[in-house]
Structure formats: structure tokens, C-alpha cells
Amino acid sequence: MTRYSEFKTSQIKLVPPSNLRTELERQVMRDIDALPARHRRRRLLIATGAGVCAALLFLVLAPLRKPPTMAGGDFIESVVIMEDHVFIWLEPATSKSVTKHD
């Protein structure tokens, strides 16, 4: 038998130390028992992360939003009395067309 064959045979017959197997079994069962708590913790972390992200996004985007317009502030009121008629009309403040009234 050559040295490589000896090596191969030794590797095939390789047996893990018995205390290692016991330790492995114990650890695996402990990890499995702890899984529900771990999953709960993970879900909580994800929810918290999502909440923090949403709050940050809101804080960043809030100043960029256009403030709501006030009805009275954006229009110019014009009143003209002609004989027994009173004409009242509103023009948008941003309107470029200027109407002259004498």
C-alpha cells in the first residue's frame, strides 16, 4: 500500500471525537430552541429600521414640499362701480396680464 492510499484510508476512517458530537448536538438543539426569539428580534429590528427610515425620509422631504396656498393672498380683488352696477372680479396675483382701469 502506498503512502497516499494509507492517507486516503485514514481519512475515510476518520471519526470525530465523541465529545465533539455531544457538544454539537447540544448546541444545535439550543440554537433551534432559541430560533423563535431570534426571529422575533429580527422582525422587530426590521420594523424599527423601516420606521427610522420613513421618519428620516419625511424629515428630508418635508421642507421641499410646497406650503399650502392661502385663498386670499393669491388673488387681487378689483371693484368698479358704474352707474347702478358694481363689478367685482378677482385676478390671479401671478397673472402677467395687467388690466388698466380708469
Binding site: 502506498t2 503512502r3 497516499y4 492510499s5 492517507f7 486516503k8 485514514s10 481519512q11 475515510i12 476518520l14 471519526v15 470525530p16 471525537p17 465533539l20 458530537r21 457538544e23 454539537l24 448536538e25 448546541q27 444545535v28 438543539m29 440554537d31 433551534i32 430552541d33 430560533l35
Partner: protein, 178 residues
């Protein structure tokens, strides 16, 4: 095995102990070939069993269980071996500075063969460990590796070629089995 899995899925998690007892030796040995120390082998096998438990619902009961478990295990071992190799290459310089140099005669021959296997590219190493050492068929190894049967055989042939050259150079090779 199907009955055990059904029981576990129904909530009797204690029966998972039976799966651990049945496969721990085989998985530990495979992990040892990647890690070359029993502590890491135990840790990686532990990760495999927990992953197996977490994904048990995805297991198809129409197919054999062992190749599915090996597939998870091979992925765990490969990813940790990759990380370990990166860590080794980072710390190699520092270790060499502090450790006394070993002469060739001091190093155990079996360790030298192990070292040559560890130098193989990861896919070749996996094929070599599963087929040559663990005695799996190329189809089983291919399933565990997530590749085609022919690809697994090519990886094995390349691994054997490389090892044959290296072991011959070391005066260990020239073996009809390799």
C-alpha cells in the same frame, strides 16, 4: 426520515435530534476536510443543521434527504473556507514573523497531503473530498455542489491531476488509486 420531518414540521422539534445524530459524523468529517481542525468543523456543521431546520419546509419529500442536507453543508463549508483563506492570506505575514520555521521532516506526511488538498481550487477540492474521500457518486456530489454530473467529474479529474503532480514532486505520489 419522512416521518421524522413531518413530526418536526408539526412542531415536535425534539425529533430534530435524530437527524443530528444520524448525520453529524458524516457532516463533521466533510467540514474537517475543508477546515482541517475539529473546532471549525463543529461550528460549520452546527450552522448547517440550523440552516437545515430553518429551511425544512422547502425540502421536497419526494427527493432523498441526504443530498439536500449535503448541498446546504457544502455551501456553508465553501463560504467559510473562502473566508478562512482570505483571513489566512491576511495574517500569513504576521504569523511567519512570529513562528519558528518548520523543517520538511518535522511536518507529518499526512499533513503535507492535506496541505496539498487545501491548495486546490475550491470547486476541485469539493469534488475531491466528496467523491474521492467521502465515496459519493459523481451524481450525488454534483447535486451537493449544484452543478452537472459531468462538471463534477471534470473538477475531480483536474484535482487528481494537480495532486498527482504535487505528490510526485514530494515523493508521495505514483499511486494507481489517485
Amino acid at each position: 426520515m419522512q416521518e421524522i420531518i413531518r413530526d418536526i414540521l408539526a412542531g415536535n422539534t425534539n425529533r430534530f435530534r435524530e437527524i443530528v445524530s444520524k448525520y453529524s459524523d458524516d457532516l463533521l468529517r466533510v467540514a474537517y476536510h475543508f477546515a482541517r481542525n475539529w473546532d471549525d468543523a463543529r461550528e460549520w456543521t452546527q450552522i448547517t443543521f440550523v440552516k437545515c431546520f430553518e429551511n425544512l419546509r422547502r425540502y421536497d419529500p419526494q427527493r432523498p434527504f441526504a443530498p439536500w442536507l449535503y448541498r446546504i453543508h457544502v455551501n456553508v463549508c465553501k463560504s467559510h473556507a473562502r473566508r478562512a483563506k482570505r483571513y489566512e492570506s491576511l495574517t500569513e505575514g504576521a504569523i511567519n514573523l512570529h513562528s519558528a520555521p518548520h523543517s520538511e521532516t518535522q511536518v507529518d506526511e499526512s499533513e503535507r497531503i492535506h496541505a496539498q488538498i487545501a491548495r486546490l481550487p475550491l470547486k476541485q477540492r469539493t469534488a475531491f473530498i466528496l467523491i474521492e474521500i467521502e465515496g459519493m457518486s459523481s451524481a450525488e456530489a454534483a447535486f451537493a455542489m449544484g452543478c452537472k454530473d459531468s462538471t463534477a467529474r471534470v473538477h475531480l479529474a483536474r484535482a487528481k491531476d494537480t495532486l498527482r503532480k504535487q505528490l510526485t514532486d514530494m515523493g508521495i505520489g505514483n499511486d494507481t488509486l489517485l
